[in-house]
Amino acid sequence: MRVRSLSTVLFAIAISSLVPFFVQAEAESVTAESEKTEPPDDIKLLAQSAALPALTGKNPFILRESWWNGTIEPGKAKLIQAQLFRRNEYQFWFAVPSVDAGLNLNIYNGEGELVPSETISYDATNVVSARLAPELTGIYYIRISLKTTVKDSQDWAVIYGYR
């Protein structure tokens, strides 16, 4: 994959872009600990950091500012409805805070049939991504699920980009 060959440079960009976040994360750790939940924006940031390589280069994805979030239980799945357009390519990123989490992200068409997509996983299992070029314009369902590698429910974020 082309992204892999760029990864060293992009990794450096990812780190530099997240430096302020380290400081912020440190400052917010007390709040997060006491509330026992991860602020949703931090989880979105996890997804965004994984997305970074796809948002640069000659043919980058354009990240939407809108995103989905919620809470999911281990062993359960949720469906997100999205209108996609033929000839575009889309990439979705799904993230949860626990580094022990295992995730699935699959895409179905309006008939409930699994559509071919390229799944991209990372060394860290708490982020997963899928890329597809829809054959038809219409409604699609993004199915997210949390494996039973963790016991606790997880807050989650899904972001997407198009090109």
């Binding site: 990864s7 799945a77 469906l79 580094v99 991209i120 990372y122 219409g138």
Partner: protein
């Protein structure tokens, strides 16, 4: 979040391809399925990006200079806000600096009327200055941020009905431009971009569920009727296309509604 978790994530930023198990089909009528309530309405640029792949369009032709007259009806203002932002996306696609600058100013005016000027100011200023530099990716990003910031602020202020109306206005403006572009330069292949019956159904449901106080004024009767009409028009036929006749009707219906919102 602790540093260790972040470091593990960062180290894990190198993607690896892998296959995953997933059911081949899902029964969408299964009552046990859990759907996420939140809908994300596609921005016009998402749709224009697809149409442009069929050949360059004259997006400048779709820009209309309309005067904004504010009144005390916040629901109408919310729809106008969505419409103006969608007009901004058209101006970005047309790379029209003057139009974008004017839209940046309109965005501020409308945000003020909606009671969220502070949250939008930084984005609106960035829209104006970035347009001056011809930095279109930044203008595009700031427009999307403006839209999202207003939606987030309204949710925070528990103005949920206005959130739906901003989204509806944005979708309407984009659909008007798309239908007009297709009307001028019809192709069966491009017409499928208007295949959005489920999205119209969602928008209609959200609109119908709004409290009556949020739909005061004749224009909201027209919104309801137009959505009903569009739901039947915005679906592909057996050939996978939307007929030229239907495209013209969609263009007329959306244009009439947009004019009514501006003029009411």
């Amino acid at each position: 979040m602790n540093k260790a978790a972040l470091l593990i994530l960062l180290v894990g930023c190198l993607p690896l391809a892998s296959a995953q198990d997933a059911p081949a089909t899902i029964d969408l009528s299964d009552p046990d399925l859990v759907f996420v309530d939140e809908s994300i309405i596609p921005i016009p640029l998402e749709i224009f990006a697809s149409l442009d792949k069929l050949g360059a369009q004259d997006w400048g032709q779709q820009l209309e200079s309309r005067e904004i007259r504010l009144d005390t009806n916040r629901s109408r203002t919310a729809m106008l806000f969505g419409l103006v932002v969608s007009e901004g996306f058209i101006a970005v696609q047309a790379k029209d600096k003057e139009a974008v600058r004017g839209i940046g100013r309109d965005v501020l005016k409308l945000a003020g009327s909606l009671g969220v000027p502070g949250s939008v100011e930084v984005h609106a200023n960035s829209i104006v200055t970035s347009a001056g530099r011809g930095d279109w990716p930044t203008v595009r990003q700031e427009l999307d941020r403006t839209r999202q910031t207003v939606l987030d602020k309204m949710k925070e202020l528990r103005d949920d009905e206005l959130v739906d109306l901003v989204s509806l206005g944005g979708w309407l403006g984009g659909t008007e431009a798309l239908a007009s572009a297709l009307k001028s330069n019809y192709s069966e292949e491009g017409s499928d971009l208007l295949n959005q019956p489920e999205l119209v159904k969602q928008l209609k449901k959200a609109f119908n569920e709004l409290p009556r106080r949020s739909k005061r004024g004749k224009v909201f009767v027209q919104v309801s009727k137009t959505l009903d009409h569009l739901e039947s028009l915005m679906r592909t036929d057996d050939t996978g296309a939307i007929s030229q006749g239907n495209v013209i009707e969609i263009s007329l219906a959306t244009s009439n509604l947009v004019n009514s919102i501006y003029e009411s």
